[in-house]
Symmetry: C2
Subunit: 233 residues, 2 copies
């Protein structure tokens, strides 16, 4: 690894996000030697996640330097709101012009998509939402972490850890990524082995889709609305 | 699952903690129907984790109701400090008298140990620290999640997710735990497969132990000091 290289990594946060989408990557990225990890929001006011965990941003969009890595988490209805939030979309578009890597975890990719940043790219998202990326011009890939040129996206929530380790390998080399994997004792043992729709029972998948239906529908509508505004359509 | 049952789950936080030790479990626990998840500290002032992520507590030790589940995370030198912090140890001992489950993730188990709460129990911790639990009367088990009566402990950092899903299964039944495992898309794919000392190269393990030596030594000294104060010794 190149210990002299300094990286500025920006993790966007917003109300009603799934915090593990971003706390997983934060724990990984903050182990990079010489990395500066920013938690970005419109203001410095505390941000309340969907589960109630409240995180303090440390940098506003207005004060954000040019990032090497830009990362957006997913969440609940707050994510749908962000898909239509001009201040958020403009910030992402501005940073994306010269950021080395433009990334998302979980339904954060829907926000990138709504900003027009996944048109023509392979990408993924949370399993219950990933098909919606097609509406915004992305090619959906059902892998846990998907890289296409400088776009890197992860699947639902816990995929952020796998995602972040892969980003570290790209940025700093495999030795650094392996060090962090061992440091965080990332030797997972899912107790039930039902963490993907392919592994879970049809009944469980259907129950979850039914419970999530209002959010899936709202997100679908926001995806269509966003795509209708793209210059190319 | 019993949707009527209400659970009060208390996650202790403190400066220099490894936040993923507690944000992983928080994301899992906050999905339990009718769970109240408290973030506990001495005051309501923001708590800065070892990686810089700043979390707001929502309940003070003084105002904490009797918990069903008490959980303590690990971290850096802040953990060693907490192993010797009378206010922390007294709080844990008081809650442990009637909490249904007394738990820890990563080196949080060293704090439980220092409070005398693991004497005679099987337990685990982060791989580089777990042998120290013996000094405080615990029997060290090298599994990712270890249960012994009402003590439940997880291995290093990312083990908190496996740990929390197992706790949910105990509290609410397997159906709820499976639902959360699928919701969080917990179908992990560690990129390098070196997340335990048994899987990593000897060189990598030695490099990490050398880098962590000052912390390992400080923690070892605190473990011995704590054990010397136990009534039984």
């Amino acid at each position: 690894m190149n210990e002299q290289q300094k990286y500025i990594i920006g993790l966007v946060i917003y109300p009603d996000m799934f915090h593990l989408d971003i706390t997983g990557p934060h724990q990984v990225f903050s182990q990079i030697p010489n990395a500066e990890v920013l938690l970005l929001w419109k203001s410095l006011e505390p941000v309340v996640s969907s589960g109630g965990l409240t995180i303090l941003p440390n940098t506003t969009f207005a004060d954000c330097p040019q990032l090497d890595v830009l990362c957006v988490p997913g969440g609940g209805f707050g994510t749908v709101e962000m898909m239509q939030d001009e201040q958020m979309l403009t910030f992402l578009q501005l940073q994306a012009q010269t950021a080395k890597y433009i990334t998302a975890v979980c339904t954060g990719s829907l926000i990138l998509g709504a900003a027009g940043l996944l048109q023509g790219y392979k990408a993924t998202s949370h399993w219950a939402f990933r098909e919606q990326l097609q509406l915004m011009g992305a090619q959906v890939i059902t892998e846990r972490v998907v890289s296409d040129r400088n776009r890197i996206t992860g699947g639902g929530v816990t995929a952020g850890i796998d995602f972040a380790l892969q980003v570290v390998a790209i940025l700093c080399g495999e030795d650094t990524a392996k060090f962090i994997e061992l440091l965080l004792e990332y030797n997972p043992a899912p107790p039930f082995g039902v963490g993907s729709p392919e592994k879970a029972s049809t009944e469980l998948v259907q129950t979850m889709k039914k419970m999530a239906a209002p959010l899936i529908e709202a997100s679908h509508a926001a995806s269509k609305k966003a795509a209708s505004k793209f210059p190319s359509s």
